[in-house]
Amino acid sequence: MRSSDSGFAHGTNGSPQGSFEAEEYSAKMAENEAALKKLARAPMIDEGLIEELEEKHMKFSREDMLFITRDSTGQIIWLESGNSSAGLEHIYKRHTNDFESKISVRKEDIPEYLHRVVTYGSVVENKTVTRHGRKGYSRKYRYNGRDYILTGIGLNGFLVSAYPVD
């Protein structure tokens, strides 16, 4: 890949303090950070799976989607930024401390970590639970041979919540 195609800001030869004003340097660093984040997130969105959701006329928010994958049961699972009741915001609000204290996963790493858990983890428990006529899944994944992550997933594959358990 040519360096000009990388999406990263250039021109940081030598000491940034020496060749650039601090402000310009900070702007380029922010630009690089944004490019890195974009690169890191790109593999977490599988356009083919999104097409499958669309073909099934399932509701989802493309712009709020953080990852979409298929787990070992074959179901398409996705995480959206969500709100205080469901999705990443809910996980942050309720379970950040559990991720940090039980399995040393930092808050900012939770989306990528969950993507790996759901994609590569083995399902060690899968309960279909019906509440007032509506089905959902309580699904436990084992990842890395040592981490156990319990999840609440809607029948459509929307990841409502996730937290490490013993």
């Binding site: 399932m58 509701k59 989802f60 928010s61 996705w78 959206e80 969500g82 709100n83 009741s85 469901a86 999705g87 309720r94 309960k127 639970v129 509440r131 007032h132 509506r134 959902g136 899944y137 309580s138 319990l150 609440g152 809607g154 029948l155 459509n156 929307f158 409502v160 919540s161 937290y163 358990v165 013993d166």
Partner: protein, 108 residues
């Protein structure tokens, strides 16, 4: 001393953690996990809370019925109160209770 956490989530809780199918607590504390009164209350609360979640509904992948949760506020507080009372009744000094839910529900 062990801690019994009270927290609600979709298909989980309020006794953290529990079997979502039966409501049986899975805390690893015998006196808690084997108590049938707790199991019934736990299931009732879990059932009520999880009923607020709807999928592929109201134009969203996941929709939470906030209005219904507010309407059920007193009912939920009464159930949580019974749960805490039962935990206090059976507490043999081997655990403490960390209630992370009652205050949130009171503020609804």
């Amino acid at each position: 001393m062990k801690t019994v956490r009270i927290m609600l989530d979709y298909l989980q809780g309020p006794i953290w953690t529990s079997d979502p199918e039966t409501g049986r607590p899975e805390t690893g504390i015998d006196v808690v996990d084997k108590d049938e009164v707790l199991q019934r209350l736990n299931y009732q609360i879990q059932d009520l809370y999880s009923s607020y979640y709807e999928f592929d509904s109201h134009g969203q992948a996941c929709w939470f019925n906030e209005a219904q949760e507010k309407a059920d506020k007193e009912k939920m507080l009464a159930l949580l109160s019974k749960l805490r009372s039962r935990l206090n009744e059976i507490n043999d000094g081997s655990f403490e209770v960390d209630d992370q839910e009652t205050e949130r529900v009171e503020k609804l």
